[in-house]
């Protein structure tokens, strides 16, 4: 017998939503490969495989239909975000452990798709950066890690293109700035004159990836997968905060443009903070949520100890989402004024 009305449905599905998110990440992946070589592809494959295995096992344990949930692609989105957010030098097992953690703990132990209060990819990032701070934050510099990364790269990519030292010594500009500015007499200008780390706007190479995230993200907005509120709230929020500091003391505080193009700003604005399950849902709430995240990101970057703050900012704002949503309910038809 047939169901109740409505009897017709739009062509929409969770799979379609997730597929579009994955498609929107493709430009950034392409730029990543162009700038830093194909190692990222290995990480993507590793993370995807780990995510699917963990998802399958957890579905089985929880007695949920495998085919229905494995094809929703949500696990793959999480995997790709992890692969892209983790530092390129992070060893393969860090990516695998992080992905497993995201799927098993952050997603399924909380009830699976749609039930997780925290962004799974960011939970993985935070746990790994706390557990393995050196592996997760030391991008260049430590020669041992460089050597290990090179050796590992050669292992998983025996016949692949050689990874050049240049490709892996590019520091995140945020890290370089914070450590650089600690030196006496250093200014933003003097620190960012290091062309091995800095490009024309932000991190060398990374600025192009950020641009690709922006392009993919705007496409998602155009496709109505995400709304403009969260990216706009984050970008404008971060721009205002960093702009204020920069205007007061441009010698010691980086420009808004650098902050927006550096680190995980664009990835966060369009792909991480916008995770619908853990984000705020009302229009006003989304703006508050994103602006709050921007503030936390800035504070961590400038005054904190971690190279970037997007992951922590996301989780901290995830906590207050229920409160934000409750307080920002839009007026109902006929109840305005």
């Amino acid at each position: 017998m047939i169901n109740n009305s409505p009897y017709v449905r739009a062509q929409a599905s969770v799979t379609r939503v997730m597929l579009k998110v994955l498609a929107a990440l493709v430009p950034a992946i392409a730029v990543y490969v162009w700038q830093f070589g194909p190692a990222i592809l290995v990480k993507l494959v590793l993370a995807t495989a780990t995510a699917l295995v963990c998802e399958s096992v957890m579905l089985k344990l929880r007695g949920k239909p495998q085919a229905l949930f494995l094809t929703d692609l949500s696990a793959i989105v999480t995997a790709w975000l992890i692969a892209l957010a983790f530092p390129p030098l992070a060893p393969w097992w860090v990516v695998v452990t992080g992905t497993a953690l995201a799927i098993v703990v952050a997603k399924h132990l909380y009830g699976g798709l749609g039930q997780n209060p925290f962004n799974p990819a960011m939970v993985a990032y935070c746990v790994m950066i706390v557990a393995f701070p050196s592996l997760m934050s030391q991008w260049p510099g430590d020669l041992n890690i460089q050597a290990a990364a090179l050796a590992e790269h050669a292992q998983v990519f025996p016949n692949g293109p050689a990874m050049t030292l240049d490709a892996i010594t590019s520091a995140t500009p945020l890290d370089a700035l914070r450590t650089g500015l600690r030196a006496a007499g250093a200014t933003v200008a003097s620190v960012s004159s290091d062309s091995a780390t800095f490009g024309s706007v932000a991190g060398r190479g990374w600025e192009w990836i950020a641009l690709a995230y922006l392009v993919g993200g705007l496409w998602l907005v155009q496709q109505k997968i995400i709304t403009w509120h969260i990216p706009a709230g984050f970008i404008v929020g971060l721009g205002i905060i960093s702009g204020a500091f920069w205007l007061v003391d441009s010698a010691h505080y980086a420009s808004p443009l650098l902050h927006l193009a550096a680190g995980g700003s664009m990835l966060g604005a369009f792909f991480i903070l916008t995770d619908p399950v853990s984000a705020s849902t009302t229009p006003r709430g989304k703006l508050i949520y994103a602006a709050g995240a921007a503030l936390i990101v800035y504070l961590i970057r400038v005054f904190g100890a971690y190279p970037d703050g997007v992951a922590f900012a996301t989780l901290l704002m995830n906590i207050v989402v229920p409160l934000i949503d409750m307080k920002t309910q839009p007026p109902v038809f006929g109840h305005k004024q």
Binding site: A12, P65, P276
Partner: protein
């Protein structure tokens, strides 16, 4: 004619495939071209409001247009014979409703003569407004957009607000439906004639006929009629095609910018909204003196030739669908459109005043819904909601049965348009969750009302009993004193009297009823026994084993007696309630409830005793108990369903004249 007018917009809405072209290619099949079905089944209750009283009985001959059901009070509308013939029966028949409930109907076998009763046109210009309204009520005119709200009630201006705009709803936003479109194309002048009557009754300054811009022919026809009428205050306006633009509140918003909040009358905001079909029916009822016995019905979906028919009420749906070409894979009929329509419980349910469209459904036309996934809070539903609700939050709390929270999120502002379910990427039947929550909340409110009433009754009875006892004791004491004074000899009575006066005051609840109430006596006895038993148990089960069987038997008997009494009472009340039939009549609910509560109390008591004795008699008593609760449950479900239907209809009527 389409003056440049500032249109407003409502948030949300969706644009489903309209599927209107197929059925709008050919003109309406007029009544004369349609054969009569072998039998008409005319349900008496076809509108919101009171259930009309049958005026005919089996064997009686009726004429076409003869009143067969009289309006029950003012908030009701009459029902008429669709053709001349013989009444075969007045009995409950299956309703045109998903619930599969039955409704008192008049079954008529046509004599084929189509003999009209004398028509009674009304000179409405020279009749007072109440007279016109009464005429409409007795002609059975109700809103034909689907809400079937009695029109004469809506044709009354607000007390404090001057009537500014009369909105005529020709938007017809639901896919598949084209009956209003074709009516406007073919009979625009008659629609306009009805509009003028309505305007006269309401005293509206302007009339705005809103039609979705995907119906250019209808717009042209109505504009031509308006031009011929030469009155600039009656305008035909094309509105953007976006479901649910034909919702009364949405159309009022689009045309006037006014948002009428849930639960308030639009006349208090100076606007009122009617469907074009209603305007046509009003013209027929007043200027031709013909009661409402037919309407335009779109036959669409899985049929050979989708088309519009003018159909007499009471015609079996399958009869009319066969005219359009029956397809073998038809698996259900849907009355109304695919967004808000209802699945019919059978193919042969009658066409009623609410039947604007019959869609023959098949798996090909309406694919079974894909499996439901968890909500990912994407917010698509909130963006699609024309009432600016947060559907996913209401879903979440409905699932959790947290009905307080659902109401906080304005559940009752939901018009059940189906936009949220339509867009949901997780394929969640969101509207079903809201329907569930609404019925649950109504049921609980009724339960609470009934409990409050019962409490008040109980307290009043206690008080009365107390007073009676006191008076009796006083009388007795007075008599004793008198006799003592007279005889001056002490009697044993004098000591007993104060004692008997004192004990009832201590335990008013148990001894409050009159002495001859057998049930009360039983309960008291049972209580006493239970007490004794408890004491025995407290003494370390020192009670002699020989005594047990006797007790067992006794308590089982008692239980049976109690259950029987309660059951009989519940049954009697249930029957009474069922005869009151549709439960818009709220009075039946409390009595029904009361019986149920009594039964429950009796059962609880019996259960307690059984637990106290903790023996095999429990097993004996159980089947009876189970049966009772199943019956009760059925009664509850039936009542809830019927009430929900009535309420939903009422809510829909006030909220929305869906076209």
């Amino acid at each position: 004619m389409n003056a440049l007018r500032k249109l407003f917009t409502f948030n949300g809405g969706v644009k489903p495939a309209t599927n209107k072209i197929e059925s709008s290619r050919l003109p309406i099949v007029p009544l004369a071209d349609l054969p009569l079905p072998p039998q008409f089944v005319v349900p008496l209750h076809q509108s919101v409001g009171g259930i009309p009283q049958p005026l005919v009985e089996a064997g009686q001959h009726v004429l076409k247009g003869q009143r067969i059901g009289a309006a029950d009070g003012n908030f009701s509308a009459a029902v008429h014979a669709p053709t001349s013939g013989t009444v075969l029966a007045v009995e409950p028949r299956l309703m045109a409703h998903t619930s599969g409930l039955s409704m008192l109907s008049v079954v008529i076998e046509p004599d084929g003569k189509e003999e009209w009763i004398k028509s009674t046109p009304l000179d409405w210009r020279n009749t007072d407004a109440d007279g016109v309204r009464e005429h409409l009520r007795d002609a059975g005119v109700v809103g034909l957009g689907g809400a079937v709200f009695p029109s004469h009630i809506k044709l009354r201006a607000g007390r404090n607000t001057p009537m500014k705009s009369l909105i005529i709803n020709g938007a017809e936003c639901e896919p598949f439906i084209t009956c209003d479109d074709l009516l406007m194309r073919e009979r625009a002048d008659k629609v306009l004639a009805g509009v003028k009557i309505m305007r006269g009754l309401l005293g509206a300054q302007e009339v705005l006929i809103g039609i979705e811009d995907n119906k250019p022919e209808a717009i042209a026809a109505m504009q031509a009629a308006c031009a011929a009428n030469n009155d600039a205050t009656i305008q035909t306006i094309a509105v953007p095609t976006r479901y649910p633009a034909g919702g009364a509140k949405q159309l009022i918003r689009v045309l006037t910018g006014i948002e009428v909040p849930h639960g308030e009358r639009s006349t208090d905001y100076g606007v009122q909204c009617f469907n074009v079909g209603t305007a046509y029916a009003i013209h027929e009822a007043i200027e031709l003196g013909r009661p409402l016995i037919s309407r335009m019905v779109t036959i669409a979906g899985n049929v050979g030739q989708p088309r519009n028919y003018e159909v007499l009420f009471g015609t079996p749906m399958d009869f009319i669908v066969r005219q359009a070409g029956w397809q073998s894979d038809t698996n259900a009929f849907i009355m109304g459109g695919p967004m808000m329509g209802f699945r019919m419980p059978a193919f042969d349910v009658p066409v009623v005043k609410a039947t604007n469209c019959i869609i023959a459904a098949s798996p090909r036309i309406f694919a079974p819904p894909p499996p439901e996934m968890p909500c990912i809070r994407c917010g698509e539903c909130a963006r699609a909601c024309p009432t600016d609700l947060q559907p996913f939050e209401m879903y979440w709390f409905s699932r959790a049965k947290n009905f307080g929270k659902v109401q906080e999120y304005n559940l009752f502002d939901c018009i059940e348009c189906g936009c949220c379910s339509y867009v949901c990427p997780s394929h969640i039947p969101l509207v079903d969750y809201y329907r569930f929550s609404k019925t649950e909340i109504w049921a609980r409110e009724r339960q609470k009302d009934a409990a409050d009433e019962a409490r008040v009754r109980f307290e009043a009875r206690n008080e009365r009993a107390e007073r009676e006892k006191r008076e009796k004791a006083e009388k007795l004491a007075a008599r004793t004193a008198a006799s003592r004074a007279a005889a001056a000899t002490p009697s044993p009575e004098s000591g007993a009297a104060p004692a008997s006066a004192g004990s009832p005051l201590e335990t008013p609840a148990t001894s409050g009823s009159s002495g001859d109430d057998a049930k009360k006596a039983l309960i008291e006895a049972a209580l006493a026994r239970a007490k004794a038993k408890k004491e025995a148990a407290a003494n370390g089960e020192a009670a002699p084993a020989a005594e047990k069987p006797v007790k067992k038997e006794l308590s089982a008997e008692e239980k049976q007696a109690l259950i029987d009494t309660a059951l009989a009472k519940a049954k009697a009340r249930k029957e009474a309630a069922a005869q009151a039939a549709d439960t818009a009549n709220g009075a039946s609910a409390p009595t029904d409830k009361d019986a149920l509560i009594e039964a429950a109390i009796a059962r609880a008591k019996a259960k307690k005793e059984a637990a106290a004795s903790a023996d095999a008699s429990v097993a004996e008593a159980r089947p009876a108990k189970k049966e009772l609760s199943a019956e009760e449950k059925q009664a509850l479900i039936d009542a809830a369903l019927a009430r929900a239907t009535a309420r939903k209809a009422a809510a829909a009527a006030t909220d929305k004249e869906q076209s």
